[in-house]
């Protein structure tokens, strides 16, 4: 009767203890275990940052603690997975400790369950059979704790920003009164303001409830001051222990700073070295936007007239020059991506114009939006934020050949790109099975294989580890020196600094504020 006995709104949270003894897990259909022989003790109320290279099993451990491991893997397939040793919360199996742990994942869209704010917070408490009156008391308290109490309970959850969605997820977890809070890269998809929003809300809630925290995140500086212990995992094997390092943040960072940086972890105060620009890139004008108004929505038809959508941003003028970097910055909702997609000929301008100069268009017409798809990719390449959206074939090599084949060109550039972006070993792999960094490198390579003169990137460094980040920045600086124009939408100050060039800052408009 765990739920009924602590049903009161004011009942204190009991921090949970975690014990792992020789624990291992192999996902269904994989030959290697994701975690092997893990020994770990986390005392009640401890706050642990979990680090390690990709493939070290950090997410697997979090999912196991949340009691959601085993039924289906990420591709939705059921299968025969394998568990060894023991992993316990308060001395019991996580699956039998429903509600003792709450999990927040990376993608804000899938952290929301219901359509109305209050209902979504109540969802977990309902599932734990908390009495109705106690649920609403908990909902109000949780919304207050995460700083969303100014919104009405029937506020539509779809109208929240990414940072607000993650805070809502935290409220939903808090309403369950868990003794263990598990965060799996909770801020990887958020802009800098959203990151701080979520981090601060987590800090406040921990101070109040005293719950145990385990967070996985490779931006160490965000969480360093909030945690009191860092545990570094390494990919499991028979000879090495699963835990590589374990101790207070300052000690672990002092001892293993270089090793962590080499493994791609963002240790505080460390900006990976990137290639310097060789030229200043004041090249020919390729593409210009004049008084541009942009929106993702299409014109609506009403009473036989076409009504243009309300633009998210208007009055944008910008120039794209060969060998020059243009960085588009600004707050969330300012229409940065929408502008970039319009500039790239993928969205029709709502007002104003995008015009390609003769150097770029080479007979294809002035407005990139009117170009055929194969004309477009040979001139302007666009790399989307989510690499998976752009995969069109079943293996890495076909993926790279796709553009050149379409254009009836040779494949000489493909080998060079494979080599340069370290994809040679992966030519037969299915693009969907690659790691996050590999997917990013592949998506850049596939677009470049068509040899465009302008490259447009939407948040290329989101959620990337320091190694992929440095590779990408260096590679783009080479491209720039070779005369390609690079337009990137980014919140990443270090990234824009590495590329140089000019910055276009978009502000919010009234259309966004209303």
């Amino acid at each position: 009767m765990p739920a009924a006995s602590d049903g009161g709104a004011s009942s204190p949270t009991r921090p949970a203890a975690v014990t792992a003894r020789g624990w291992g897990w192999r996902h269904a259909g994989r030959s290697r275990p994701a975690v092997h022989a893990l020994d770990l003790d986390i005392r009640p109320g401890e706050r642990v940052l979990l680090l390690g290279p990709s493939g070290a099993g950090k997410s697997t451990l979090l999912h196991a603690l949340a009691g959601v491991l085993g039924d289906v893997n990420d591709d939705g397939e059921a299968g025969d997975s394998d568990e060894s040793g023991s992993l316990l919360i308060d001395g019991g199996a996580p699956r039998e400790r429903r509600g003792r742990a709450g999990l927040m994942q990376q993608d804000p869209e899938t952290q929301v369950v219901l359509s109305r704010l209050g209902d979504d917070v109540a969802f977990g408490a309902e599932n734990l059979a908390v009495p109705r009156d106690a649920i609403w008391a908990r909902v109000h308290e949780a919304l207050d704790d995460v700083g969303l109490s100014h919104l009405p309970l029937d506020h539509p959850t779809s109208a929240l920003s990414g940072g607000q969605k993650q805070r809502l997820a935290l409220a939903g977890i808090l309403a369950m009164r868990p003794g263990l809070i598990l965060l799996d890269e909770p801020t990887a998809n958020l802009d800098p303001a959203g990151v701080l929003e979520v981090r601060d809300a987590v800090g406040r809630c921990l101070d109040k409830t005293g719950a145990t925290l385990v967070v996985v995140e490779h931006r160490v500086s965000v969480w360093k001051d909030l945690v009191d212990r860092i545990v570094v995992l390494q990919p499991g094997s028979a000879s090495d222990p699963a835990v590589l390092l374990d101790g207070p943040p300052d000690r672990v960072l002092a001892e293993a700073r270089d090793m962590l940086a080499a493994a791609g972890v963002w240790v505080p105060g460390f900006v990976p070295a990137t290639r310097n620009r060789a030229s200043d890139g004041s090249g020919d004008l390729l593409l210009a936007a004049e008084e541009l108004a942009v929106s993702r929505e299409r014109p609506r038809r009403r009473r036989f007239k076409s009504i243009p959508p309300v633009p998210v941003q208007h009055g944008i003028s910008a120039q794209v020059r060969a060998g020059q970097a243009l960085t588009i910055t600004g707050p969330n909702g300012a229409g940065k991506s929408t502008f970039a997609l319009t500039l790239a000929g993928l969205l029709a301008p709502v007002g104003g114009s995008v015009s390609a100069t003769v150097d770029l268009s080479q007979g294809a017409g002035i407005d990139p939006y009117t170009w055929k798809a194969d004309q477009l990719i040979a001139r302007i390449g666009t790399v989307f934020q989510e690499p998976e959206h752009q995969f069109v074939t079943g293996n890495v090599l076909d993926e790279l050949m796709f553009g050149p084949r379409h254009l009836g060109r040779g494949e000489e550039r493909v080998d060079e790109l494979l080599e340069r972006l370290r994809l040679t070993e992966l030519v037969d792999a299915n693009p969907y099975t690659l790691s996050g960094g590999e997917k990013r490198r592949l998506s850049v390579a596939t677009v470049l294989a068509a040899h465009p003169q302008v490259l447009v990137l939407d948040e290329p460094t989101f959620g990337q580890d320091a190694n992929t980040w440095a590779e990408l920045a260096s590679f783009l600086s080479e491209l720039l020196d070779d005369g390609t124009a690079v337009v990137s939408v980014t919140h990443d100050v270090e990234f824009s600094a590495a590329l140089g060039g000019t910055e276009l800052r978009l502000g919010t408009t009234e259309a966004v504020a209303s």
């Binding site: 899938t110 929301v112 109540a122 734990l128 059979a129 539509p156 596939t446």
Partner: protein
């Protein structure tokens, strides 16, 4: 662009009725109208339904936005019935194999009015019913499995997201050289590829959402409900209103002598 699964400020009276009683009233109307093909019962029912618009917070503009496929289907059905049905009475229009007579026009009108009268209650129901409230009523009052009901409700939220994702994937594929413009065959191929991309993303999203729900304790045995689904006096009125409208439609048709039972 993203559809919100809430009523967006609709404060009309019928939003406060229990979804199940509204559903029952809709079933009464629909069943009765399906029994006969005459224009009197259909027009009476249609008139009653139009009177209900303000109570459901529905306007003609909203009706057209949400129900235009149904309205078009009714109009097309009525038109084709009037020109294709066996002629009787005076011939009004004769163009080759198509002819319209008084009898066939009456049949066609009856068909169109009935189509509208059957479709409108469903539009009325949806316009004054919040999906979350409907789910609550189905699980708490109709005793449907809460796993099924809440799973469906959560999945419906993803449908709106998928509409956005469809557009993004379309652009992302154009940026790879897959044209959505071109010959019909090329377009079909492009649409198939785009659908596959969307399917992959939908499955990933759905499995992540399932993890979120499971991690919040969903799928266990007993659960409580933060929102209690209740019946009130209003629901008596809704049921009575539904039955009265159905009876009025039948009564008027019998009185006018136009009632023609479908089975007979």
């Amino acid at each position: 662009m993203r559809q919100e699964l809430t009523l967006r400020g609709n404060q009309a009276l019928l939003t406060r009725a229990n979804p199940l009683s509204k559903f029952a009233a809709v079933v009464f109307m629909t069943v009765v109208l399906a029994l006969s093909i005459d224009w009197v019962s259909a027009s009476v029912a249609l008139a009653c339904e139009l009177l209900l618009f303000p109570l459901a917070g529905l306007t003609l503009t909203l009706l057209w936005q949400r129900g235009w496929p149904l309205i078009l289907a009714a109009a097309v059905g009525g038109w084709s019935t009037s020109i294709l049905a066996p002629d009787s009475g005076r011939i009004l229009l004769d163009v080759g194999i198509w002819s319209m007579s008084e009898g066939s026009l009456e049949l066609g009108m009856g068909f169109m009015l009935r189509g509208l009268a059957i479709a409108l209650p469903a539009v009325l129901l949806m316009s004054c019913t919040d999906p979350t409230d409907l789910a609550d009523a189905l699980a708490q009052k109709a005793r449907l499995s809460h796993r099924f009901v809440l799973g469906t409700l959560a999945a419906m939220r993803l449908v709106g997201l998928m509409a956005e994702e469809w557009q993004t994937i379309g652009m992302a594929r154009r940026a790879r050289g897959v044209g959505s413009r071109g010959t019909p065959l090329q377009r079909v191929k492009a649409t198939l590829g785009q659908s596959f991309g969307l399917l992959v993303q939908a499955i990933r999203r759905a499995s992540r959402l399932a993890v979120t729900m499971e991690a919040r304790g969903f799928g266990g045995g007993d659960r409580t409900w933060a929102r209690e689904s209740t019946y009130s006096r209003l629901d008596v009125w809704v049921l009575a209103g539904g039955s009265l409208m159905a009876m009025a439609a039948v009564g008027a048709a019998v009185f006018a002598g136009t009632w023609s039972f479908v089975g007979g």
